[in-house]
């Protein structure tokens, strides 16, 4: 092979990496840090005393934790090119089933961990059903999980029979309200799930397959990756995070109801997208998602500290989502152009 034929290739290849330093993962995370700092600055300017202290930081993190856990699962699904609209409803179902089990007489004698395990199993099970329908039934993820959204919340209503099921297991409530090193257990759970999610995405074969499937499902399939099976487990993972969130909400409210987790799926999707994960799949980070969750949590706190209406808060949230997606499209656009230039040059010119 002569150098002449390679020269144009080397030229086009030498440019992208330099630019990707700014438009790549690091650059986008930098943007998120700036956005977060800006919102914090607004908080400090408008309500310094109430806003800027350690106690309030913990409040923010605690409020972020439940959506945060769901968002980690959602990140995997979206990176793989899917979507899960059912996580909020699955959370409600898991909370109701676990609470029902906890109020049975038999449960009185059993360990509180049984409640936890039931919630996790219900969440993962509902996710697995999503996964089977999507992967093997070839139903679009949007429709399959929309059906689960409606169905799971309906089932939760039937099971709860319009009651609020109060969990009175003292050990469980104690375990879920403990402080470790002065930090709420919910925050610890979010931190552990986020770290585990980061490791799973970046350091394991599961994560590699997820990115490959989102990047090019056909290439992954023809390389021998069992795509259907993987997609199934992805939705089970999303369901599992909804189950974990159900345990957290049970521990905090002492109650399982069919109204828990309403519209959480939208908050989670918003956090993931604001965090820089491409909705078309193939690219995304756990770090970005954590930032996305924090941005919305701090924003909410700033509004509360200033006694501003939650309606106004929703408007602001909407604006932030649109800005994030616009930025994301610009990034996706440059990426497309970048890869399109050499590839089109290669196939045509």
């Amino acid at each position: 092979m002569s150098e002449q034929t390679l020269t144009p290739v080397a030229d086009s290849a030498a440019r992208p990496p330099k630019r990707s330093l700014f438009s790549g993962a690091a650059g986008r995370n930098l943007g998120l840090v700036v956005a977060l700092l800006a919102i914090i600055a607004v908080g400090m300017l408008t309500a310094f005393d109430n806003f800027f202290n350690f106690g309030n930081a913990l409040v923010i993190l605690r409020q972020a934790s439940i959506i945060g856990v769901i968002s980690i699962g959602m990140t995997f699904v979206i990176i793989a090119g899917g979507i899960d609209l059912s996580v909020g409803a699955v959370l409600a179902l898991a909370s109701v089933v676990a609470a029902l089990a906890a109020v049975q007489d038999i449960a009185k004698s059993s360990h509180w961990l049984v409640t936890v395990i039931i919630a996790l199993l219900v969440g993962a099970g509902a996710g697995l059903i999503n996964g089977v329908i999507i992967a093997y039934g070839k139903v679009a993820a949007f429709m399959a999980t929309l059906a689960m959204l409606v169905g799971a919340r309906g089932l939760a209503e039937v099971l709860a029979n319009q009651r609020t099921l109060v969990v009175s297991d003292r050990d469980f409530l104690k375990a879920m309200n403990v402080d470790l090193l002065g930090v709420d257990i919910l925050i610890w759970i979010f931190a552990i799930v986020a770290v585990a999610g980061w490791l799973l995405l970046n350091r394991t074969t599961f994560g590699r397959r997820t990115v490959a499937i989102g990047g090019n499902v056909e290439a992954a399939r023809l390389a021998g990756i069992k795509v259907n099976r993987h997609v199934m487990w992805l939705y089970a993972l999303a369901g599992l995070t909804a189950g974990i969130a159900a345990v957290m909400i049970l521990g905090r409210t002492n109650a399982g109801t069919s109204t828990h987790g309403n519209l959480y799926e939208l908050d989670a999707i918003a956090a993931v997208v604001v965090g820089g994960t491409l909705l078309i799949g193939g690219r995304g980070t756990i770090t970005g998602t954590v930032f996305g969750v924090l941005i919305f949590a701090v924003l909410q706190n700033v509004f509360v500290q200033n006694n501003m209406s939650s309606s106004l808060q929703s408007v602001t949230k909407g604006v932030i989502i649109v800005i994030a997606v616009l930025l994301q499209q610009r990034f996706a656009g440059t990426r497309k152009r970048k890869s399109a230039r050499p590839t089109s040059a290669e196939s045509r010119a």
């Binding site: 193939g282 040059a345 290669e346 010119a349």
Partner: protein
């Protein structure tokens, strides 16, 4: 019509291109990947603006600020990716963007009539204006795209590799259409990688290299192929195909295909491949070649028949089983089926293999990079940085990623579907060399190519496929291009 002249001198991708097009001529644009052909035609189409230089149209300097301006001048472009809307009918596609309408309502009958007239002009009156474009073959889609170009009052049509997705017979019909257009005084800029096509229909040639025209407006008849290749590469290429190495008669049979059938696509296909042997499948597009290979690989579940690797039968419809048995596919569509374009080269190479290197689900990226680097070096892949995204590479180097992928996996049976599509002439010779080396190393190789010459030049054994059947199987030395075409024509007619 007076002669049309254009002069370019754009800075980045184009560094001074001179090109002159006469009315009614077929002007071929030749050049390797990245030579700037796409940029050049996009400048003509109003997609890109030249930074320097000027475009003269009928002797007058013009500027083409946007695609509409190009159309207004009379310049239409047919891009390589067919820009038709699958869900609309033929007539709707032809008039997309300039619908015949009155008061906001489309005039369906008038549209259909005009569409029919345009199709007739192209010699395809059998194509119905009401047919949904999604149901058409890519050759027919191309006709639709061409009819759309003609629905404007055009004087120059640019065709970017129109033959890339076509079989031999379809290419012949395309040439008839091109001749029809030039007879009407329309100029054609024709881009292709296939030198023999230039010989067939080209009047003049301009060769681009590294964004500059190295030879402008050569008369096709006066220019030998060797000279063209020299202009493209800066050197003479001889003996494109390496010397064939005879297969040892006692070499073990690695791949056996027995009576494989896929309902409605192909039936009763049998062949075997020994270690060190290259078997080529020749046939027209649509003859079932790719489907046969995909079924052998398990990407499509066979209706009947067996596939054996090393004497062991594989389960039907399981790619994973085929891969772990030692098979590897380099698919027809490199970008959409082969590579994760946004991912690093090494992750693309290790795509089937990272799981094997992992311990308990934990990736070993250090080992992955090391192994990928070895294969990058062995294949002389450029650029050689394993962390660059695969999408930034040229076609030839992307093909090397796919070959590296299966080498890294230790696959011994390689299925190569159009391994040189979209690969420029210089890099092709290199890919041929690599394929030969792999065979010499004891791999069993099955290769598909639309270019019969390529199959004959590479393969030890040729299977001629027609209409989903193996028409004949014989040593490559006993058949020539003419013989294959002859068989294909007869087989399809029978």
């Amino acid at each position: 019509m007076r002669g049309v002249e254009k002069t370019f001198g754009a800075v980045r991708a184009l560094r001074g291109v001179d090109l002159e097009i006469r009315a009614g001529e077929v002007h071929c644009l030749l050049g390797q990947n990245g030579a700037g052909k796409s940029t050049l035609i996009k400048t003509l189409a109003g997609v890109h603006q030249p930074d320097a230089g000027e475009i003269l149209w009928n002797g007058e300097p013009v500027s083409i600020p946007d695609p509409q301006a190009a159309i207004d001048l009379g310049i239409a472009t047919m891009y390589q990716e067919l820009d038709v809307v699958d869900g609309l009918t033929v007539a709707e596609n032809i008039f997309l963007g300039h619908e015949l309408a009155r008061g906001g309502f489309t005039r369906r009958l008038a549209t259909a009539a005009r569409a029919r007239a345009l199709l007739k002009r192209l010699g395809h009156e059998r194509l119905s204006p009401y047919a949904e474009v999604g149901t058409l073959s890519s050759a027919e889609k191309q006709i639709v795209s061409m009819a759309r170009a003609l629905s404007h009052d055009i004087r120059l049509i640019v065709m970017d590799e129109p033959s890339a997705a076509l079989g031999a017979e379809e290419v012949r019909r395309l040439f008839d259409v091109v001749k029809e257009l030039t007879a009407q005084g329309i100029a054609v800029i024709y881009i292709t990688h296939r030198l023999e096509e230039i010989r067939t229909i080209g009047d003049r040639i301009t060769v681009l290299k590294d964004g500059a025209s190295t030879a402008s407006n050569l008369e096709v008849a006066d220019t030998p192929t060797q000279v063209l290749i020299k202009h493209m590469t800066g050197r003479l290429v001889e003996n494109v195909f390496p010397e064939a190495v005879p297969v040892a008669p006692d070499a073990p049979v690695l791949l056996e295909v027995e009576n494989l059938s896929l309902d409605g696509v192909f039936s009763d296909v049998s062949f075997s491949v020994r270690a060190g042997e290259i078997v080529g499948l020749a046939g027209l597009v649509g003859s079932g070649r790719s489907e046969i290979i995909e079924t052998v690989y398990g990407a499509r579940p066979a209706s009947s028949g067996r596939v054996l690797v090393d004497g062991k039968a594989l389960p039907r419809g399981s790619v994973a089983a085929a891969v772990s048995a030692g098979m590897g596919l380099s698919p027809e569509e490199r970008k959409s089926q082969g590579l994760v374009l946004g991912e690093a080269i090494f992750r693309n190479i290790m795509l089937p293999t990272f799981g094997r290197l992992a311990t308990g689900g934990w990736l070993d990226e250090r080992a992955e990079r090391r192994i990928a680097r070895e294969h990058i070096a062995a294949m002389e892949l450029r650029p050689d940085d394993p962390d660059l995204p695969a999408g930034t590479l040229s076609g030839g180097n992307q093909q090397k990623i796919l070959l590296s992928r299966w080498m890294a996996h230790g696959s011994r049976v390689l299925l190569l579907d159009e391994p040189t599509r979209g690969v420029d002439v210089g890099a092709r010779a290199e890919i041929y060399g690599l394929i030969h080396d792999l065979a010499a190393d004891g791999h069993a190789i099955v290769i598909i190519s639309s270019e019969i010459e390529e199959v004959l030049g590479l393969a030890d054994t040729v299977l001629v496929i027609g209409d989903g059947h193996v028409l004949t199987s014989l040593p490559a030395s006993e058949i020539d291009e003419h013989g294959v075409l002859d068989l294909v024509m007869k087989g399809t007619a029978a």
